[in-house]
Subunit: 199 residues, 2 copies
């Protein structure tokens, strides 16, 4: 800390921001100290706009700005029979960027993690089950990571969807495109081998 | 980009913040999306306070909150005959944290870099020369890094101070405390060897 109350306050706020290394906090504080008044006003106005305008879509829980439904749910060109379940809204952007998916989405807003007190009711799993049962959905794609929390969430959703008779799939595991075999970890090579497919 | 204007605006602002890796920008945006209104208001108020209250000390150019002189310049217990020149205000904090220095400071606010159009007049070098000539200073410690810009700044200041007869020193170069010889780079070992001292 600097013994200058206002700078210390700023540093405490910056320390809470994720993915900002503590060794760089003073340099980031310096960035704000040297900004113009206008720049700071603009940033504050954007932050406030974000809080005022953004709200989760009432169907898929991604962020939307206008109305209660997002641009993916209201797009009539998208396939209504296929649903891609993502952990966070930025995972949705990653899927969109591939250009290879034209179905619906559902944002979980997290993963089941009993150690942190996050159960299915803290996430949007119950609305997901309700959607699958009510809408004419034929396939649910689960894109959660292969971590203990991700696997637990996949297992829970799969169990809950069993009675609905919908096809539940997950992303293919294998060698990343352009990667060489020697640089890929053992488990991935094993998965790629056991899930090999005819050319 | 997300195609959601308000989030895109926030992301453009975050992209300008230094030391924030672009792969983490969406996660940081997510952090702000999930903050409460009160949290965002507090952060904005702190950012605005920083711009309103903070100004450079009229003598040493470090940031100060009250009056025109900083706490280092007004502290009567500090040695007025020794002056430590640092590149940025956070370098001053690093020196202070050692507890081994009790003199005055001078913040350059940057380094000479002709390629980026930063000459001595963009920095606080002329006020530094004036200080040394007017005040009763016996030693000037230069703490700039050993980079082309750092060396150029050291050379310029040393030349300008020559006529004043003040002792100009730099930080000792050598093996970091606790480090093993095999992990230290060649140039540092060379410096440590040529500048060896009796025990």
């Amino acid at each position: 800390m600097t013994n200058i109350p206002t700078i210390d306050l700023l540093i405490r706020h910056l320390q809470r921001v994720p993915y900002l290394a503590s060794k760089n906090i003073y340099k980031v504080a310096s960035y704000f100290l040297y900004r113009s008044h206008a720049d700071i006003d603009q940033l504050c106005s954007v932050l406030k706009q974000v809080k005022e305008k953004m709200h989760p879509c009432s169907t898929c829980y991604t962020w939307c700005e206008q109305g209660t439904a997002c641009m993916y749910c209201t797009d009539i060109k998208r396939d209504k029979t296929i649903l891609c379940v993502v952990e966070q809204w930025y995972d949705l952007l990653t899927i969109e960027r591939t250009g290879g998916y034209n179905g619906q989405y559902h944002v979980l807003t997290g993963l089941i993690c009993p150690l942190e007190g996050i159960g299915p009711e803290e996430l949007t799993i119950y609305p997901l089950i309700a959607r699958v049962n009510q809408e004419n959905i034929k396939e649910v794609i689960l894109t959660m990571p292969q971590t203990p929390e991700g696997e637990a969430t996949v297992a829970y959703i799969t169990k809950k969807l069993k009675s609905s008779g919908v096809l539940v799939t997950c992303l293919a595991r294998g060698i990343p495109v352009g990667s060489q075999l020697e640089f890929v970890d053992r488990l991935t090579v094993y998965k790629a081998l056991t899930e090999r497919r005819p050319i």
